[in-house]
């Protein structure tokens, strides 16, 4: 029987309120006009210690280049202290917290969470604990909510060249609500249900951002071998894959550990590098010859008792080592379970076994790396193998494109948190708390029902508006347009037109267009026509000035009908509408057209 799995989730939801600590908008194109570059150093935390995850990043000694797009300012560049917190975002986080039954903290301290992988220009992420101790009901029982935090989102990684990492700052500073559950989740299907429910709760505020990665999940998982945090799962369906892949991995490592244990275990002294560059200089491996040409060396080490567990059957300890070297930007590694191969001959492999002084059950590995990298890896590799074979598996992992989890860095500790000295604590007013609690009285499902009845739209439409993060847009359009029409416009009409034209209309443009049409005293007919023009690339100013959006008057319609009828007899209403459309680019109401046509006939 495998150990029972304990699962918890962290759900991150972006808000569309504007950025958290500056007045930049959330949206903006990645077209950057300039770049800047930085290095980061870990600093001593409040308790006098340096966080181990931060120290680890420092050893990697990387430099970071940042693309600075239009929705960024000095705050994102870490060239100006944070401005006061975005109060709207804070209030949305309170509403979410209240909906999840949490206790809201009346005074909120902003903390700095040290993150020196470059994803924050400052070297830390600002995060504030907003509420604690809530719970939700699910089909498999109660799931506790540990905490609700309001954070600034990190920069988006564009490329990772190992020593040189490239980010875009457009996403940095977008408000992010982080909802953490207790480890009450029983399996992968349950995890999906919990993630859906939490996401839906956040979306009913109408203030969530609509983007491919605007809701992201981290999975916390433990099978009795320490806590593993799996980061960056942007699709809910991947939660299941991530949990399955990680439980399989841990079960595989249990078998690897017991195999090595039976053979006498790991001797930590066994691992040290010998330089075999001279011997392999003429080998047929392009990876080796290429590395040597770049000035790298080829290092060999024995792996005690590890023959067959690196890669054979379902055992994959080799991959665990490769994941580590990749983090240090070393791609060139090989081990004896996959050799001969990669251009190395049987004779060369036999010689390497000999040089590594391998016994029957031993394996070897080769690393192609610079001297400096090799001396780092000579410490890191045996330490990681030791951890794994002792089944101390706690670490931060990520869900990779290959559909499996992979090593990212050690788990950070509490050392990485210290107060944001540039900001005073935020004190919530009684009104802010009570308005959040009011909002939280209704569960998410009931709020959708209420939305349907308040606006007289279908339950289905209400639900889709929420889950597609279009609730905010709907509410604002409904204040000037008919609610049913607004829902149809957002959910059907606009997506159809967008598909047909291959262009997109942003929420901001739509809002501005609607306001402009209303200001000209025009209605829905004109709006439909103006959307066409917008998708053809006309500006809103051009559209509002255009005669093409003015609906045809009764007289104008009658004149056209008369003219058409003179030329050709119209057999039915459909034909009539089509013929009128051919003669004018201006909008008209087809019902009105038929009425007029009827009256003319009489």
């Amino acid at each position: 029987m495998p150990n029972p799995v304990m699962i918890g989730l962290e759900v991150h939801v972006q808000l569309n309120t504007g950025k958290l600590f500056c007045r930049c908008p959330v949206e903006g194109s990645d077209e950057g006009s300039f770049e800047l570059s930085r290095r980061l150093k870990p600093t001593v935390g409040e308790a006098g210690g340096v966080d181990r995850a931060a120290r680890y990043e420092e050893e990697r000694d990387r430099s970071f280049t940042y693309l600075c797009p239009e929705n960024t300012c000095l705050v994102e560049y870490d060239e100006e202290p944070p401005r006061s917190i975005n109060r709207e975002a804070l209030n949305v986080s309170l509403k979410v917290a209240a909906s999840l039954g949490c206790t809201i903290l009346p005074v909120i301290e902003c903390m700095r969470k040290i993150v020196i992988d470059g994803s924050n220009t400052s070297g830390f992420q600002r995060t504030s604990l907003v509420a604690v101790n809530g719970s939700i009901q699910t089909s498999r029982g109660r799931v506790g909510i540990t905490s609700v935090c309001l954070e600034e989102d990190s920069a988006r990684k564009l490329s990772d060249g190992g020593d040189q990492v490239h980010y875009s700052l457009g996403r940095l500073g977008i408000p992010l609500i982080e909802i953490t559950t207790d480890p009450d989740i029983v399996d992968q299907d349950h995890a999906v249900e919990v993630a859906r429910k939490i996401g839906l709760t956040a979306m009913t505020t109408g203030m969530t951002r609509r983007d491919s990665d605007s809701i992201r999940q981290d999975v916390n998982l433990s099978m009795g071998h320490g806590r593993v945090e799996i980061k960056g799962i942007s699709r809910i369906s991947q939660i299941k894959d991530a949990i399955e892949s990680e439980t399989e991995r841990q079960m595989m490592l249990e078998r690897v550990a017991s195999t090595v244990e039976k053979r006498g275990g790991l001797s930590s002294k066994g691992f040290h590098f010998v330089d075999v560059s001279e011997y392999l200089r003429e080998s047929g491996s392009t990876m080796i010859s290429g590395g040597i040409r770049e000035g790298k060396h080829v290092y060999l080490s024995r792996l005690n008792n590890m023959s067959g567990v690196l890669k054979s059957g379902d055992m994959r300890l080799g991959r665990e080592i490769a994941d580590l070297t990749k983090v240090f930007a070393v791609q060139g590694i090989m081990h004896s379970d996959e050799l001969p191969g990669y251009g190395l001959s049987g004779k060369e492999v036999r010689e390497l076994f000999k040089r590594a002084e391998c016994g029957d059950l031993d394996a070897f590995m080769i690393v192609i790396a610079s001297k400096a990298k090799a001396s780092l890896l000579e410490k890191e590799i045996p330490s990681r193998i030791e951890h794994i074979l002792a089944l101390r598996l706690d670490e931060t992992r990520y869900f990779s494109d290959q559909g499996r989890t992979a090593f990212l860095r050690p788990l950070p500790g509490a050392e990485r948190m210290y107060p944001e000295t540039d900001l005073e604590p935020f004190r919530l007013s009684k009104e802010e708390i009570s308005s959040a609690l009011d909002f939280g009285k209704l569960p998410a499902e009931d709020r959708i029902k209420k939305l349907a009845s308040d606006y007289n739209i279908s339950q289905q439409d209400a639900s889709t508006l929420v889950t597609e993060s279009k609730l905010g847009l709907f509410v604002s359009l409904s204040s000037v347009l008919n609610a049913r029409y607004s829902a149809r416009l957002i959910l059907q009409r606009l997506p159809e037109l967008e598909k047909k034209s291959g262009n997109k209309v942003s929420e901001e443009e739509l809002r501005r267009l609607v306001a402009a049409i209303k200001e000209r005293g025009l209605g829905e007919l004109s709006l439909d026509a103006s959307l066409d023009l917008l998708l053809k690339g006309l500006s809103i100013e051009e559209i509002t000035r255009s005669p093409d959006i003015e609906p045809l008057s009764k007289e104008e319609l009658a004149a056209i009908i008369n003219e058409i009828s003179r030329i050709q007899k119209q057999n039915n209403a459909g034909e009539m509408i089509a013929s009128v459309k051919k003669r004018t680019s201006r909008p008209f109401d087809p019902k009105k057209l038929i009425e007029i046509a009827e009256s003319i006939k009489k």
Partner: protein, 416 residues
């Protein structure tokens, strides 16, 4: 009110808050609130009235600063003295009290100067602990004496200084050191060293690199761009803080670029003063001086009140060096009483010229002395030096270029 009546900073407590029991670390008392750290690392603030301390789980102790202080570094023959006056550059935040404490610990720059460790020996010392906005001439004099003493025994001095008044201090030091046998480099930081992105690390590193060079001037070394990797050394008398927060806030105004560093490589400009054979240092300054910022509301009474008790007044005039004719009779009167009025421009960039317009000529006639393109803050420091050394020839010495404070040629130098 540090909260000692509740618990020691760093002790582990079990507390009750609104019916909930929590294990926390005590941080501090702040007014009517207690601050605790949760095991997750987040700090929470509870009102004294709503929180009850149930028991102490563990005494404070493990929660201490574990870093090791390193006060000397390197094995080489070039001796560099690093003197800290406080400010944000060489400090650690004490989270219990919120205070910023200075530190002599050099360990944080260890890695970045590995390549030059065998060329120099660096020693560090805290000589003051003061925010630069609180610095006064007595601090300059005290610090200058310590710099002078250091430069008698060492080859170069790096002075860690708050950025707010750094250019005043740099100017004062420039005039007080009539001769110097090595560089005196002031540096600071715009982002405090308690954050991983601090510019402190690189600014100190760059200052140490410049310290290895044959330079006989006082300079300010800071970032030259908002990116890391590029630094500049600016002549103290031509440097000015031109931005409240950016890393590259310090600019050489029109001239004064001594050198630059790009990717750890130093390049010096042609226009630098080489070291003297010996040091010549004077610690005499006369503080009876001030800067008067002329504006449309300025009146003769205003100027008179400002000038009381002062011997030299640096006027920051408009444009080419103009003030309202309302002030002219007063300037004449006060000049006749023996006060000195010297003219600089609010434009900062460009030269004053009192001969182009009638109002300028009238100001000259009233007895004012134009200072070409000298920066107002530099003119203040220079006035203090000249008043103390050449009170009878004030005008002549003020207009003589002593340390490069006047850019002789008006070159078209980049942005302004």
């Amino acid at each position: 009110m540090d909260g000692k009546e509740f618990a020691e900073f760093g002790s582990r407590l079990r507390i009750e808050h609104e019916g909930q029991t929590l294990d926390v670390t005590f941080i501090k008392r702040d007014g009517e609130e207690l601050v605790f750290k949760l095991t997750s690392g987040y700090n929470v603030r509870f009102s004294l009235k709503t929180v009850k301390i149930l028991e102490e789980l563990e005494k404070s102790g493990s929660f201490r600063n574990k870093s090791i202080d390193i006060a000397t570094l390197g094995t080489g023959s070039r001796r560099i003295s690093l003197l800290s006056t406080g400010g944000t550059i060489a400090s650690k935040v004490d989270y219990a009290t919120g205070a910023v404490k200075p530190t002599e610990d050099l360990s944080f720059i260890l890695d970045s100067i590995k390549d030059i460790q065998d060329r120099m020996t660096l020693s560090a010392k805290i000589i003051d602990s003061i925010l630069s906005e609180n610095m006064q001439p007595e601090n300059w004099i005290r610090n200058a004496r310590l710099v002078s003493k250091a430069l008698d025994h060492e080859d170069a001095v790096v002075l860690l200084h708050g950025t707010d008044t750094m250019s005043y201090t740099a100017s004062a030091l420039s005039f007080m050191f009539e001769k110097q046998k090595g560089p005196i480099i002031l540096t600071g930081s715009q982002r405090s060293s308690d954050r991983p992105s601090s510019d402190a690390f690189e600014n100190i590193e760059a200052s140490i690199r410049f310290s290895l060079e044959d330079i006989g001037e006082v300079g300010i070394c800071m970032h030259s761009s908002i990116s890391d990797g590029r630094s500049t050394l600016i002549r103290g008398v031509r440097a000015r803080k031109m931005h409240t927060t950016r890393r590259d806030a310090f600019r050489a105004i029109e001239s004064g670029n001594i050198g630059t560093i790009s990717d750890r490589k130093v390049s010096l400009s042609n226009d630098i003063k080489r070291p003297d054979e010996e040091n010549a240092f004077s610690d005499k300054l006369d503080t009876a001086a001030g800067i008067y910022y002329f504006n449309p509301l300025s009146s003769a009474e205003d100027l008179e009140a400002f000038s009381r008790g002062k011997k030299a007044i640096v006027i920051m005039a408009t444009g080419l060096g103009h003030v309202s004719e309302r002030l002219l009779p007063k300037i004449r009167e006060l000049t006749d009483e023996g006060k000195h009025f010297v003219i600089t421009s609010q434009c900062l960039y460009g030269r004053v010229d009192l001969e182009v317009y009638a109002s300028g000529r009238k100001l000259l006639a009233a007895g004012a002395t134009p200072l070409e393109n000298m920066l107002p803050e530099t003119a203040l420091a220079k006035s203090m030096y000249v008043l103390a050394h050449y009170p009878d020839e004030f005008g002549r010495w003020m207009t003589t270029n002593l340390r490069g404070e006047i850019a002789e040629r008006s070159l078209i130098g980049g942005e302004f």
